[in-house]
Symmetry: C4
Subunit: 238 residues, 4 copies
């Protein structure tokens, strides 16, 4: 989650694609393993939770210094709003996050002898689910911003532990990530989401991310007023 | 858990309210998710435990430098007794902790399509339960005081891990927090507590906190005698 | 696990007694909670494991700088063999560890509305069990010695995580602690051990500890030959 | 995972043998404990996962400064390709890893009153399994290389957490280690693998390790082209 990457764009995009891919492979793969090994849905979700939380800590530690370890268009949006990434690079980030995520789903399916891509039939829609995604994305982005300010080295743990908790306390199991949501539309297994329901999730995730930027920019900067103006000046180093 | 916050009172109170709110949302929400997904009460409690422990680590890391990350009137009481917070600020802390906690319960209920507020019917009373709360609060406050002395950066982990353990080894599942106890009176789900039983819990929690301050002030300060005099001088910076 | 405590003996003994007491309360209490909430023994043991591992990390972080955080006569024996604690202090340590452990069992029983002390009927004996205790105590002491040499600040985690693993991979669930074994003879619940079987466990634990001191003193000190001579000179500062 | 061990070869080999032995004892022992205590395969695998992840963190922290804490011929191969270990030492490492691993299986069997060595009947073969092992070994080696570059002190956690996740998201439960695979051929319990299937696993593991070296050498070194030339010059300090 470094603000000052010194790696070139191809390496940063490789890190974003690979990181998002492994993240989705972990989410989808552990979901499949869980539902195959037990009939207890709570236990399957617990395995899903542990695998996701653990891999996030690893991925952010290793790829953070290269690309900032967003792996998540909602995080890239928040960084863009803060002026921490240029517009062109942000677009490239989001593109490879989505592509990497889908590739991660394929990788998981091949491991478990499933078709490379399927369409999910798992209904996840309605006001409660969207509210859950707003909460989850607000928390994720807010705690990343707080971590960047006070404990940058702890960010891998903050993200991993927040998602571990949010899997259980948000009714949507905390997707909190548009690229992961898109990739999960292509798996008809434990962690899937019906394609039709993806746009609602993405919208809610962006709303949560923007709210977090607004509140935490105020909260973390004494002397500054609450505002919705964003820094779009962005360093154009890319 | 910093002793020297440099943030203004509105930001500190926002951090306390938001932190307590997210904490309660995590406790209540994960309790609901657990009881919906499994019939095994131990498994539901395990999910509840993991979500609570994980979110505590995140919240204390991010909000600690702003407000001290009390989220808990028993902790604020202990800090007041040590003279680490002024009386007026302490009262404001407790007020927003309670308000934030109730808001957190509402946030969780909306995610899970439940009425915003309910009254719990979950009986938690009797000498054994009160003893459990004394033990839990004694440990929580004592280990925070020890952590402040020897390992301030580890405090998020000390609190998260202590509560993780105390969920299981105290018969009350370790509320150890008057604001959270009040908020949990308003949820008729897994983690609820009958309103009638809340005062007994709060009293036990305060007793445990005061005992911890007495013992650990002696234990941590060689050359000092065991005493029940408290520093109430408190810096009046607020 | 500090080698150079600067706290006076009464405070060190208080830390040892309180730490061992909370440790036993966590082991016994979480065992009771687990067996009450589920019929699945693996799940009960998992709860027992998590509570024990988590509380160890907390206790060693907080009490380490005061007393060295032994909480365990086998560890005190190893420190005595290394000359890191005087003989008289070591005897006092072991005495309060045992007393504190039994008090911890009482504290747990009262929380769960059980008789203060019971005699366990849980048979744990035989060559396989003793071998398991040798392995567990060898690992515990060896990894503490390695940690003292290379990563002193990580010792709370090394101990907590080693015990977490050893609960599952040693057939005895890794008591690895004579004081805890004695205390667990007084609980006729999940974590109990038949009094008759305690001496065999204690002997095996001491064997494991001594073997660890011998091997790790060689392993950690290049240029030194494998030897069974111990430093008994011990600084007589106590 | 230190690149510059200052310990002599006998101590380094002792660390590799002992570390691999304890690792295998943890994998095999916790698998036996899990399958004995529950009928739920997911729960048994969860216990297996937690024990393995926890012991890896301990072992790498303690033995890393002595031998680099490979415990794994695929890791030794990667270090050889990077020129971080001499050829003769690498061969000795692999030899004692295999011997230590088998001894660890024996140690576990004796604890659980089983024959010292058995041949496993657990079929693990086919393209999906091999693909899973490629993914697992690629990730393990890649994240070690990334960790060595950016966060050397975090490597014990990176490895422990990656394996924790990979147990669940790879269809093979992530052996990712030729020495451990060989040792697990000698246990006809939960974690076993049919001897006939071991060569396929080892080949896949080496492929994953080599791919990781190629990609991460490029990714971590801006200005360097993607290449398959390896540094075999290796310091001949051994």
């Amino acid at each position: 989650m470094s603000d000052t990457p010194t790696f070139d764009l191809p390496r940063r995009l490789t890190a974003e694609a690979l990181g998002t891919g492994v993240l989705v492979a972990a989410v989808v793969g552990s979901g499949i393993m869980g539902e195959r090994l037990t009939d207890d849905v709570a236990l399957a979700l617990l395995a899903n939770t542990i695998a996701t939380g653990a891999i996030l800590i690893v991925l952010i530690t290793v790829f953070g210094p290269i690309s900032g370890a967003h792996f998540n268009p909602a995080v890239t949006l928040a960084m863009r709003l803060r002026g921490a990434i240029a517009g062109r690079a942000a677009l490239a980030y989001v593109t490879v996050q989505i592509a990497g995520g889908i590739a991660g789903a394929v990788a998981a399916h091949v491991m478990f002898e499933l078709p490379p891509l399927m369409l999910s039939g798992h209904v996840r829609t309605g006001l409660s689910q969207w509210w859950a995604e707003i909460v989850a994305s607000f928390g994720l982005v807010g705690f990343i911003l707080g971590g960047l300010r006070f404990a940058p080295h702890a960010i891998p743990w903050l993200v991993g532990l927040f998602i571990t908790a949010a899997y259980w306390f948000t009714a949507s199991t905390s997707f909190a990530n548009p690229a992961v949501a898109i990739a999960r539309a292509f798996t008809d297994t434990f962690s899937g989401i019906r394609p039709l329901d993806v746009p609602g999730f993405i919208l809610a995730q962006c709303v949560g991310a923007v709210l977090a930027v607004i509140l935490f920019e105020w909260l973390l900067n004494p002397g500054q007023k609450l505002t919705i103006r964003f820094s779009m000046a962005a360093d154009e180093r890319d």
